[in-house]
Amino acid sequence: MRASNPQTAEPLVSVRDVQLHYRVGGVFSAMRGRSSVVKAVDGVSFEIRRGESVGLLGESGCGKTSMGRLLLKLEEATGGEIVFAGEPVTGLKGAALKRYRAKAQLIFQNPFDAVNSRFTIRAALSEPLENAGIPAAEREGRIVKALELVRLPQPQQFLDRYPHQLSGGQLQRVVMARALILEPDFVVADEPVSMLDVSVRAGVLNVFRDVRDRLGLTAIYISHDLALVRYVCERTIVMYLGKVMEDGPTEDIVREPLHPYTKALVAAVPVPQPDQSHAPLPIGRGAPDPRNPPSGCVFRDRCPYAFERCPREVPRLRRVGTRQVACHLFDDTTERP
């Protein structure tokens, strides 16, 4: 049961035209015709309401991880703005930044990298509590409660252990516990199960869903795996080369993908069923290169439906039914494929 209705008014997180551009290379790269700017995130806009679980889906280089880091202030946006609960986040520093940090947390991809191997589990979980000024006497209790929340059996036994003494699944739950220990408003989960064994993933994902429901957490789930995103998120944002291609209810996107890229993505996912389609994917070859994105629509060089408008004009996100799609095909003047 959800603790709050996702449809309530104010969006919790509002991202407007956010950009993250890196400068790379120098004079020589420019001379060789290679751009010196990598547009990791290039004009992304979306809103997330309290209690929503949104998947940020895309392949490597699409900017989803960068977007997650921007939301957590691990990187500073080079353009656009991010607003959290009405307050702009983009310029935060000092005490205000610390307050924000308590509200926005991260669950990592590699649990063994996410916890300092020299720290005990207790020490790792204490760090956020210390920073928030929680008195020492209270900490142990909170730590145990957090470990219970992520369903680690008999939490006390883990407190003095070191990360390498835990299994991947257990450690990932510890990482989750650490993210939740300050009762944040929203959590960014970056491929939280991709490094775990398959039979363990389900357990961790179920805990995530359960915790999210119980605490009414707002969650952003970053992944390249559509099947997993579908399991956790009722809404999905599909990204490609730093831009949003499609944004809408996950079920709709899976059953009837609109954007040509999403169509290819959905068709490409293998299923554990013997009779699946082997039809060639409706997408051109080649890999997205964030340094040299195509002009106009960034997907046009691989898109089977590209026409003359595509290289000229960057498509804007337009509302189509329950979703938003950035594709000229969905402009009122053109008909759908």
């Binding site: 957590l72 940090r101 990298d113 916890v115 207790r122 509590l129 020492a136 900490r139």
Partner: protein, 298 residues
């Protein structure tokens, strides 16, 4: 009241553990033993050395006890041309050697580590400035620099320390910076930032413990350098005439034509000591390398 939430041992224990003394390597243990011997000699010089090293001594017949060979008149290693006991000089020489060695090594390790930490962690213009300074330091030839410094300041054993502190942090700084760059991209550093830890806290808690072995590695290299440099300076005559060091002994022997006089007992012991201490330093360094970079292979 003990902090229940953090069950970590106290700072001195942690520091010692961070040392990660290379006790597995036979050479390193040998090196550590040599150091131990010299440290004891330095600490108990007053007890061990039979005479004051600068004291001009006389035989029972009231003759100057000059150029005596080992064993004569009870002088273990003989005497100098001026009548001073070589053995006592050798023993007291450990003091200045170790003093300079350890102080200089400490300064080099400290400055290099701080620069590496700050540069690597913060990046940006801070990094650019420090690395340009390092480039300048790399361009300076060390021995001439020490000589020039000795010319401007009073000749003193601390010149070497100062010169090293000003110049030799460059290697340590660069290497530690690379290590910090790698560590900085680890997940737990991001986790600490997201958890609200300040930069200082992250540096001290997460990054510094991992680079301390490297600091010690470079420190142990620096000890050898310092002692060698001091010996060279003293030998060239730019050293402190008031303190007896092994380099000074060599200079004294040279000036008194010890080789012609075949007074091997005069210059061979200090030379040997220098070699031993520097070699010991390198053995310990090698032991650390095996710990830090096990894949280098034997």
């Amino acid at each position: 009241m003990p902090d229940l939430a953090i069950a970590r041992p106290g700072l001195p224990v942690r520091l010692f553990r961070s040392l990660r003394l290379p006790l597995n390597d036979r050479f390193a243990v040998f090196g550590l033993a040599i150091y131990a011997i010299f440290v004891i000699a330095a600490l108990f010089a007053d007890q061990i050395a039979p005479y004051d090293p600068t004291e001009i001594l006389y035989t029972e017949d009231y003759d100057l006890a000059a150029d005596l060979r080992p064993g004569e008149e009870g002088f273990l290693l003989g005497t100098t041309s001026l009548g001073r006991d070589i053995f006592s000089q050798l023993i007291y020489g450990t003091r200045s050697a170790l003093l300079i060695g350890i102080t200089a090594a400490f300064m080099v390790a400290l400055i290099g580590s701080i620069v590496g930490l700050v540069s690597g962690y913060f990046g940006g213009w801070v990094d650019a400035v420090f690395m340009r300074l390092a480039d300048i330091a790399f361009g300076i030839p060390f021995l001439p620099f020490v000589i020039v410094l000795a010319a401007f300041l009073e000749p003193s054993i601390w010149n070497v320390v100062l010169a090293m502190a000003l110049v030799l942090w460059r290697d340590t700084g660069r290497v530690i910076r690379s290590q910090v760059l790698t560590l900085r991209s680890r997940g737990y550093v991001d986790a600490a930032r997201v958890a609200g830890s300040s930069d200082l806290k992250i540096i001290l808690r997460h990054i510094a413990p991992n680079i301390l072995p490297l600091s010690f590695l470079y420190g142990s290299i620096a000890i050898g350098w310092a002692i060698l440099t001091e010996a060279s300076i003293s030998f060239l005559g730019f050293g402190d005439p008031d303190s007896i060091s092994w380099g000074y002994m060599l200079q004294d022997a040279f000036a008194s034509q010890a080789l012609a006089k075949q007074a091997y007992y005069w210059f061979v012991p200090p030379g040997l000591c220098i070699i031993l201490v520097v070699a010991a330093g390198f053995f310990i360094t090698r032991g650390y390398e095996n710990i830090l970079f096990p894949k280098l292979g034997r």
